[in-house]
Symmetry: C2
Subunit: 219 residues, 2 copies
C-alpha cells in the first residue's frame, strides 16, 4: 500500500515535471532547482547572483517556504521578479506547485529561473521539477559529515556550492575531504567553494551559469 | 485519498508511540527527542552531555540518520550505549523504528534516553515517538529567520537550544529577536543559548535535564 501510494505520487509529479520541462525548453529558460539545509544561505546567494547578473540576464525566482513571504521580498528588493510558494508545513516543492505558479511570469521574457526549494537536505531531492539542473548548497558550519550522511541529495545533484567559506578560519571544515567524499558518492558532481557574504568564489558560480545558459539556448 | 493515507500513517505511528510511552514510564526512563536542521550540532551537544552527566545518570542514545554509523560511533566513544537507525533515505524517525530498537537496551538500567532524530527541520516534528519531551536545536549560522519560516517545529517543541553561540561575533544573529519570535509562535517554549564547543551555557541545559528527570521519576 505504502509503496503504491508513493509510486502514484511520483508518477503524478513526473507528469507535471515533463509539462514544466517542455515549457522551459520552448521558452529557452534555464531553470535551476537550488536545494540545501535550512540556513545554508540559498537566498543570500540568489541576492548576490541577481545583483551581479541582472544586467546580463533577465532573472526570476520561485521561492519555496513553509511560511512567510520573506525570501520573495528579499529577491524583489534586488529588482528581480519573485513568486512565493508557501507549502504550509510541506517539506519540499513538487512539480505541480511549480506548474501552478509559472503562469505568473512571462517565460519568453525570462532567461534564468531559479527555484529555491524548501530548506531540507532530504525530501526535495526526490522530486523532479522539470528543471535543467539540480544544485545543492552546503555550508561550512554544517560540517564535513553531511555528504556521506545525506547521500541521496549529493547523488542527485550535479553541482555543490560550498557556501560560507568566510567561516573556515573559525571551524574545523576540510574542503579537500568534502571534494573527496563527493567524488566517491557522485564522481560526475563538482564542488565550488564560495562565500555569498564576501563574494569570494562567486565568479566560478557565475561562469558555471554562463556555460549552462549557453547550452540551454543551443538546444 | 491523500489525507486518508496520511491519517492512517499517523494512526499507526500513534499506536507505536503509546506503546513506547508506556514502556518508558514503567522503567522511569526520561526520553528526549532531539530535532534540528542538518549540522546544527546535535551530536556534539550529546557528546558533551554524556561527558558531563554520565557520572550522575545512566545514559543511552538512539541515533537516526539516512546513512552511516558515524554518530553512534561518536557516542560510544564517549562511553554511552548507542544504537544507530539508518532510514535509507527516510526523512524522519517514527515510533515503530524506535519500538523496534529499544529492545537493544535494558531500559531498567537507563535513566536518560536521547533520541537524535534525522537532521531535518520539517518532517520529524510531526511524529510522536512516545518521548517525554521534544527539544529543537537551532544554530546561530542558520540565521534569525528560521523560527518564523519553520513554525511547525517550534510550535511542537517545548525547548529550543540555540547552539554555536561561539560564532555570534562573526555573524548577524540577534538572540533577543529569536526569543521574541519564539514567544510569538509558542509562548510556552523556552530558549537556552549555548555552545557545545566552548561549553558556554551548557549548565542551563543540564539543569533543565535534572528538573525533567526529577519530574519523570516522580510520576
Amino acid at each position: 500500500m505504502k509503496v503504491m501510494v508513493r509510486a502514484d505520487v511520483l508518477t503524478n509529479n513526473n507528469i507535471a515535471a515533463d509539462f514544466n520541462r517542455e515549457l522551459f525548453q520552448k521558452t529557452k529558460t534555464l531553470v535551476i532547482n537550488l536545494m540545501s539545509s535550512p540556513g545554508a544561505g540559498k537566498t543570500t546567494l540568489l541576492e548576490e547572483t541577481v545583483r551581479a547578473l541582472s544586467g546580463k540576464y533577465r532573472i526570476a525566482v520561485i521561492e519555496g517556504d513553509l511560511a512567510t513571504e520573506r525570501d520573495a521580498d528579499r529577491i524583489r528588493a534586488m529588482g528581480a521578479k519573485a513568486v512565493q510558494i508557501n507549502t504550509h508545513g510541506g517539506c519540499h516543492l513538487d512539480a505541480r506547485m511549480v506548474a501552478a505558479c509559472v503562469g505568473e511570469f512571462d517565460l519568453e521574457e525570462i532567461d534564468l529561473l531559479f527555484i529555491e526549494n524548501v530548506g531540507n537536505l532530504v525530501c526535495p531531492s526526490g522530486y523532479d521539477l522539470g528543471q535543467n539542473h539540480k544544485v545543492a548548497v552546503l555550508s561550512v558550519p554544517e560540517g564535513n559529515d553531511k555528504i556521506p550522511k545525506y547521500p541521496q541529495m549529493f547523488m542527485r545533484t550535479e553541482l555543490v556550492l560550498l557556501n560560507k567559506t568566510d567561516l573556515l578560519p573559525y571551524l574545523d571544515f576540510n574542503v579537500d575531504e568534502a571534494v573527496r567524499d563527493l567524488s566517491e558518492i557522485n564522481p560526475q558532481s563538482k564542488l565550488i567553494p564560495l562565500s555569498a557574504k564576501t563574494n569570494e568564489g562567486l565568479q566560478d558560480w557565475f561562469s558555471w551559469i554562463k556555460e549552462a545558459y549557453r547550452q540551454c539556448v543551443q538546444q
